[in-house]
Subunit: 226 residues, 2 copies
């Protein structure tokens, strides 16, 4: 698999702030892999709809899942076009001028059509990957789906072909004439951090959270430098 990524299309090319546009798969994959959820946009009766949902990337495919009875999944699983976006907020960019305020972030947009996964092996692998995407190793700890649960779950696949990343890093970019203002300027980094695990009320005594929970952190929390 080439990591060069496809050429940007008209809608994946970053027009505003083109210096923030990245089209290589390494950058795109790292953002998709770190993000715990995404927003999926689709069109229904000519109107926009957007839902938050969990995703996982496996190779060149992004999988989303949901109840087989889900309105959204039924709406898009017959080849409807989707726009999947995920955004990681890395910091607040506080400039001297209000106009130059910004945020440091890493986002990915993927355009594609959704294909319902019907092959049992692919469906199983996608379910496992979704669980492990949220907590690595969790599929070895949890009871995996039985046949009834598999039937109740739809998995949709979106081929990772038409995609791009947009990344802002670094300090504010005030105009030259504002640099003398006596206003503090800089970046306030933001992080997503875990708290203490909260036991389920039905847990038997002495069953402690495993190391992948107590030592939880997101992989690759490493802003791509511009």
């Amino acid at each position: 698999m080439s990591h060069a990524g496809p050429e940007p299309t008209e809608r994946t090319r970053v027009h505003r702030h083109p210096e923030r546009g990245f089209y290589d798969r390494e950058t795109i994959d790292a953002i998709l892999d770190e993000a715990l959820f995404c927003h999926v946009g689709y069109v229904e009766d000519g109107k926009p709809r957007v839902i938050p949902t969990i995703h996982v990337r496996v190779g060149d495919t992004v999988y989303i899942h949901g109840s087989s009875a889900s309105h959204t999944l039924r709406a898009i699983k017959h080849g409807g076009e989707v726009c999947l976006v995920t955004t990681l907020l890395d910091g607040l960019v506080l400039a001297r001028s209000a106009f130059s305020h910004s945020m440091n972030y890493r986002s990915v947009v993927v355009y594609g059509t959704a294909r319902e996964v019907t092959d049992p092996d692919e469906k199983w692998a996608a379910q496992k990957a979704l669980v492990d995407h949220v907590v690595p190793g969790r599929s070895e700890q949890a009871r995996m789906p039985n046949d009834a649960e598999l039937r109740q779950t739809s998995i949709l696949a979106i081929y990772l072909e038409e995609a791009s990343a947009k990344v802002r890093t670094g300090p504010p970019k005030d105009d030259e004439e504002d640099l003398g203002l006596q206003t503090w300027a800089g970046v306030l980094p933001l992080y997503t951090v875990p708290g203490e695990p909260v036991d389920d009320p039905h847990l038997p005594p002495g069953l402690a959270p495993p190391p992948n929970v107590t030592g939880y952190r997101r992989p690759n929390r490493r802003p791509t430098s511009t």
Copy 2:
């Protein structure tokens, strides 16, 4: 202003997990006010588009902004319908069964048409609110926009009428027959926390970050109880 909120419409009513649906303005407003950014979906040439962007709620209106040259803003500012969604992730819900895994979150969806703000007073107030939404009090510290900057910025307003919240809180909900499994189950809370402020490289010596930066926290980090 009533806080009861309007009756849900077919598309704002939460069908999957109806117990997670909230239609009162108090719940909706708290989520919109805490979230630092949102995703806006719209339709262009019959296709779905979604962009991440900063928003702010002022009374019954949600404002978004961007460059007057922005492709997105030009696409929706003439009354195009939008679907604005924001999602706060509160924790990972780790059940005994993979099927019962979930996330604790608070999300809001707003449907509406975008109106371009042309009234100078409203435009100014919206700009101020956008700055203060990200860092309360920042509009008193930063140089506010001059005429040229105001002209380069478009503000769009979406009336907060057709909206709903979806909130999941609490422990996993495993099936009765899974409760005896020797798998740790519970919730791993997640928080967005600030790091140390990073000075802009052009900052004169001795100019320290103000208290609204050093003591930064999001307001109302308080999950709505179900």
